[in-house]
């Protein structure tokens, strides 16, 4: 398709600017967690280049290209944003900033926040000054998120928050939390929920990391003991937080679902891994015929899934989308990724079992274990199937 002249000009300018401003070090693939810039009050940059790159991009508003300029964004159109993304990929530029503020809270604030809330929080997100975490799940409320019990009782100009959250990603490193609380204990369960923002340094907030089966601890339990939150930090209407929560969940779902792309470009395909692990027989085929069968089936499904992501995007662009397919992508993508990791483990045999030791031993086993959470976090596979049955297939409620 031909690009409009304006867009072509934007592309040329962008390319030139990126060439001039993206530090060489920031053009390398992300190799470890410390290469990711999360921002926040307590963030320690892993290099001067990482800091410089964030500052330069934030100055242009390009950490959040499509947000309005008034809130620290780049004010770009969808097409311009796509061009920027393409040009960044071209030079393999790293994302200047990764943040739940950008992915989740920002879009919700843009839609549901008051003017004061937008002005207060969005620029700090855009500049990576405040790192956010998400207070949704509770010990008794997993898939059944709406049964949450953390309470927020209004006393004068403050909500007094008491309760406990689990699965708060990086709560121990976050500055602020966006949090679902129950403000109307007597309302029907979906209608008593509100959406609050507060500082993690508020008195009464404490966190404890959760150790996972993979050995790492990206999640915390978070406890609230009479935490005082200014009433002005309520987003949207009181008792209407469930709507905002659902809006956020849809974003999260699409993010998680997109993780499998076995046959997609840029990533080492399963077949390549199999070839390295097993070699090829004289007939040019992988020598273990049962494993080869499983690899083939996995590759077929991965490819079909990648094409489906492409088609869904193209249909959305063309205005032909059949509606929210995020549950489908989330369910299928995560199940696929789990199968892929199982196969990766099978291909490596006993070497895949190694846990600690020299070099990167244990990486594969950890990634395998990590993948098991994909079909649980952000709404379990079972919840996604329920949603599909109800919204896409219009099957009657149980």
């Amino acid at each position: 398709m031909d690009e409009t002249a304006a867009l072509a000009e934007f592309r040329a300018e962008t390319r030139a600017w990126l060439e001039a401003n993206c530090p060489e070090e920031m053009r390398q693939p992300v190799r470890s967690d410390s290469d990711i810039c999360w921002g926040g009050r307590r963030f320690v940059f892993s290099s001067p280049a990482q800091k410089l790159w964030l500052e330069r991009m934030a100055t242009r508003g390009w950490t959040v290209p499509e947000w309005p300029r008034a809130y620290g964004g780049g004010g770009l159109s969808k097409e311009e944003a796509r061009v920027l993304a393409q040009e960044m990929r071209r030079i393999r530029a790293r994302p200047p900033l990764s943040s739940f503020g950008i992915w989740m809270l920002g879009p919700a604030l843009l839609r549901y926040g008051s003017e004061a809330q937008k002005a207060e929080h969005l620029p700090k997100i855009a500049r990576g000054e405040i790192r956010w975490c998400q207070g949704y799940s509770e010990p008794g409320a997993g898939s059944d998120l709406a049964s949450l019990r953390t309470s927020a009782v209004l006393e004068g100009d403050h909500f007094i928050v008491n309760g406990q959250k689990v699965w708060t990603s990086y709560a121990d490193r976050a500055d602020w939390i966006f949090c679902l609380v129950r403000t109307e204990p007597d309302a029907p369960k979906h209608l008593g929920i509100s959406f609050l923002l507060f500082d993690m340094e508020s008195p009464g907030v404490s966190t404890a990391p959760i150790r996972l089966i993979s050995g790492s601890s990206p999640f915390c339990q978070t406890f609230f003991d009479n935490v005082r939150v200014p009433r002005a930090n309520l987003v949207g209407e009181r008792g209407r937080g469930w709507e905002i929560a659902k809006y956020l969940l849809t974003h999260e779902r699409e993010m998680i679902g997109g993780m499998d792309s076995g046959a997609a470009e840029g990533r080492d395909g399963l077949a390549q891994v199999a070839k390295r692990a097993l070699g090829l027989g004289e007939d040019g085929r992988l020598p273990d015929s049962m494993l080869r069968t499983d690899v083939i089936r996995q590759e077929i499904d991965s490819w079909a899934f990648a094409l489906t992501m492409e088609r869904v995007k193209d249909e959305a662009k063309a205005g032909q989308g059949v509606g929210a397919l995020s549950s489908m992508l989330k369910y299928y993508g995560t199940e696929l990724n789990k199968r892929r990791m199982e196969l990766m483990m099978s291909l490596q045999g006993t070497e895949g079992l190694l846990w600690e030791g020299e070099d990167r031993e244990g990486d594969l086993a950890r990634a395998w274990l990590r993948s098991r959470a994909n079909s649980i976090e952000g709404g379990t596979s079972e919840v996604q199937l329920n949603i599909i049955a109800k919204t896409m297939l219009r099957l009657p409620a149980a």
């Binding site: 083939i296 088609r311 397919l325 049955a389 297939l393």
Partner: protein, 379 residues
Amino acid sequence: MALVLTDDERMIRDSAEGFFAEHAPVAELRRLRDSRDPHGFDRALWARMAEMGFAGVAIPEAHGGAGLGMVAAGLIQEAIGRNLSLTPFLSTSILSATLLAKGGTAEQKAALLPRIAAAEIVVALAADEAPRHAPAHIGTRAHASGNGFRLTGTKPFVLDGHVADRLIVAARTSGADSEPAGITLFLVDPKAEGVRVERRSLVDSRNAARVTLEGVQVDGADVLGAVGEGFALLEAALDAGRACLAAEMLGVADRSFALTTEYLRTREQFGRPIGSFQALQHRAAHLFCELELAKSVTLKALRALDEGDSRSAIFASLAKAKVGEVARLATNEAVQMHGGIGMTDDADIGFYMKRARAAAETFGDSAFHGDRIACLMRY
């Protein structure tokens, strides 16, 4: 090009769906089967398909066709699958038309393509010899004789062979029985001396024929493409056929899924609609996802053929393999969820299961195409 239908293509889809739903619904399949119709399809329908531009959809305009290409052809075939319509579209308008358009001489094209587009003739491909698809496995021999060849061999499964006005026969002019090199394609008149055609009926009420060739004389003008180099041409036509079969299976699967979700909403057991049982809901929801994948690979395979993508063989195999499995799952689940009703001949759903199986076995099942993908990707 974006992986989405253009406005023109959506019009074709809608008109094809309307056409087959009106003129060739499942009731028509039932009628042809129960009356043991000697042709196994309705010639009037075939003629109407010419009027609609369907018969020549993939034939260049210069030869009387619509020149719309494979995405359009696939949409027609999908509508055929949705309605289980009986037509010689696959054999004639896809396989034979592709072979002629890509490999024919000017004379051959002029003689046959306009007549296909006009639905005046049925042309059938007599290639496969093994019950399990193995396109290079050609044992039929063509020995030089006079200014042409004499053909001898048996083709046990020629789709629409019993009604064909012309056959395209793959025979071996050199090489060993399963070598790609040495295969040559010939245009053969089924009424020629030495040709025997026996109709064979199939589980899905389509028809095929066993064609036996006993020293059938053809001359040089009957050679289609280059002598000994027929395999590449054959594969190109087969890939078109495979992508269209994927589209047909998609239609079969999608329609049987729609019939099933409708049944789930209305059939009551234990005092509630069976669609309210979560175990069935989850299976249906999973199937929904599989169908979405099937749609994507089908469109990609057809698009790749139109675009001359160097990976179009891979995409054709991807579509045939994936949609074959999805159609099998969809129709099996459909029959199971219909319960006893699904086992009766009175219900339409069984016809979808039969067709899904037959289409999956034709020109390579999922095992064949999975292996082909891996070989093309060198693993």
